[in-house]
């Protein structure tokens, strides 16, 4: 074995220790941000999540006015907590579209009947494909999309009453 080769383990160990020290010094932030903020919404077409309400396509997000896209599911408990806040946003005139993740029409209908329906359109994303394309890691999440279909802001987790001002300001900025 050549002399330099024998020191390879120490070099690798140093690298490992350096990475671990870095991690200890910078505890991880577990929120994963979408890299699409500032980018156009990827093209997609989602079928209607329940009868009587249209599905959602990326073209529906380029209407000239900012919209809020809410990623939700009937099986998601934080989404229940978020529902009244979305209702309040709608009452202020915010246009909201939904994407239902891995859901069934009957369950979505029951969820909306129980917790209110703030959505103009709801697309059904059975495989999470569109969710992942948007850069969303979980439910609920919301995106502010401007009138040209560009994602301006991402909110991870349920929108709480305290977040309403931030969301409204982002929608204002996206005008």
């Amino acid at each position: 074995m050549s002399r330099s080769l024998r020191f390879v383990p120490i070099a690798l160990l140093a690298l490992l220790i350096a990475a671990l020290v870095w991690r200890l010094a910078n505890p991880g932030d577990t929120v994963i941000r979408s890299r699409l903020t500032g980018q156009p919404v990827p093209a997609f077409t989602l079928p209607a999540a329940l009868p009587g309400k249209p599905g959602l396509t990326s073209a529906d997000l380029t209407t000239g006015a900012p919209r809020l896209v809410n990623i939700f599911a009937s099986w998601c408990v934080p989404c229940i907590a978020e529902a009244p806040v979305l209702g309040a946003l709608k009452a202020r005139g915010v246009a909201i579209d939904g994407i239902a993740i891995r859901d069934r029409p009957a369950d979505v209908a029951a969820f909306l009947a129980r917790h209110g329906d703030p959505f103009e359109r709801i697309g059904s994303d059975d495989t999470s494909r569109v969710q992942l394309a948007l850069g969303s890691a979980g439910v609920p999440e919301s995106f502010v999309v401007d009138g040209r279909g560009i994602i301006r802001f991402q909110h991870v987790g349920p929108i709480e009453p305290a977040d309403v001002s931030t969301i409204s300001a982002e929608l204002e900025k996206a005008q």
Binding site: M1, R6, I10, L20, R23, L24, T30
Partner: protein, 635 residues
Amino acid sequence: MIAEAGLAALWLAAALSLLQLLLMAAELRGLVAAARMIRAVAVVQGVLALFAMAMLLLVFVRTDLSVALVAANSHAAKPFIYKLAGAWGNHEGSMLLWVTVLALSGALLALFSRALSERTLVAALGAQGALALGFYAFLLIASNPFARLDPAPAEGRGLNPLLQDPGLAFHPPTLYLGYVGLSVAFSLAVGALLTGDVGAALARAMRPWVLAAWIFLTLGITAGSYWAYYELGWGGWWFWDPVENASLMPWLAATALLHSVAVLAARGALRAWSMMLAVIAFSMSMVGTFLVRSGILTSVHSFAVDPSRGTFLLALLGLYVGAAFLLFALRTAALKEGPPFELVSRESGLVANNLLLSVILGVVFVGTLYPLFAEAATGEKLSVGAPYFNAVAGPLALLLAALVALGPLLSWRRERRPVPKRLAVPALIAASALAISFIAAPGIGILPRLGLVAAAWLAPASLLPLASRNPLRTPLATWGMVLAHFGIAVALTGMAADSAFTRETLAAARPGETLRAGPWLVELRGLSPAAGPNWTAVEAELRASRGDGVLVLKPQTRFFTAPPTETNEAAIETLWNGQLYAVLGKPDGTGRWQLRLWWKPFVTLIWFGGVLIALGGLLALFGRAWRSFRKRHFA
């Protein structure tokens, strides 16, 4: 007083481990002949650590709530066994268990090591003392398990209910025996590098330690896998979670070491490589302990994150592994080359085993730490999941399983006999398995199919070393090897069958409704309340049938009072050809309940195989111990 006695024992033990280090230095400089003294010191140190651990168990059994650790992790209303398990189901207690095993290993090494030269033994015990000293310091400075709480609370917080399970009572101690048992291999390697005494005698001294540690690791991983399978209610048995990987990595290194030490013991070859593996195996144990205890990787094993403790452990890790690697770099040139061997020989078979195991170890290591490296280097967040590990480590493991059939049939130095002929029967069976799998199950994935074929090849081939031998005159160690290799085929069958044939049903059902899960029709009969010593539950009654007879399954959602937590208690019905697995979820508010049902054909073979592998190791360990005992006393 009990807690103070434990603490005092820890301080004394720390002082003795320092003494061990000093005695080693004196011996290596030729100042004293320290062998007798260092043996005695190591034994007393082990006894003191054991005493401290016993004191911790005692304060937990008595639920002494003036001890902070007890107040934070126990509860007077807990069943006795979980009071005991609570002692190590937390950071401080588990680190004390760790050090206790370390100190006891040192004591056993001091008591029972005869084959080694005195200088090497002193050096090894000094290295073991150095290891212990660092971890005593960690306990006493950063993780005192005996710290008092003033005033004492009226009631404790209780143990995490997920951990209130017989699995916990055995899983961590078993894994720790494995993790820390490898410390002796590390110390022996360091000692031998210090004295330049690397050879067959060292290998023979090291082998029982590696074997014992490996048995415990195998059992610990098997038990942990089964525990996750039935307690977490996810229906899976391996998730490539960082903490699972942290236990797999030392196992992979120990498996490689076990085989390379065999070459060193029998032929005196692979000297430097075996020393490197011995260092790496225990380093992986320390990396594993660090990853688990610092909580820096995102994992389901969410232990409390504490940066100061993490820093302390990392410093120890860097110090010990760095020193051992440095020693290796400086001393390997002085090691003599072992005798040569030909391309087709037992030696080269074991080298192939070592290469494959090392590459798999590298794959798991990189996959586990890659998210960390990527974020450190580019700031990008990503996670490495099962698809990577299965795609990269899977084929390598299959190749290894296929080669396991060959290795034991080769002779040392040079193979003269025609091996292929003897493998005709296994080859025929494997080919039939392949054909049958295409006819009976055309749709299964390529990895599970190859897994079934590899198992069909290995199972008969692993028995071949017994053919043409008189079973009574065959050494126990050979029986052990055959059993362990056969166990691989059994476990592989279970893994492949589970991933190829599992049927999953997720549905919401009202009482009276019937669901289908694979060949089973499962009726939800009703729901009723249930209660245990420290929990209440909603219990579903399921009736499952597939034509003949009815099985009753009762999955529960349990609500624990201390600490207030909810867990899913899966109901698992084991049949000879698989398991029916049911988990009760939430009600949807309209009278329906979420149910998750799995039919898992032959899944139990995974853990049965794991137990066979460990039993094989046990046979080999006993066989070798008996042989050396007989040699000493009757020869």
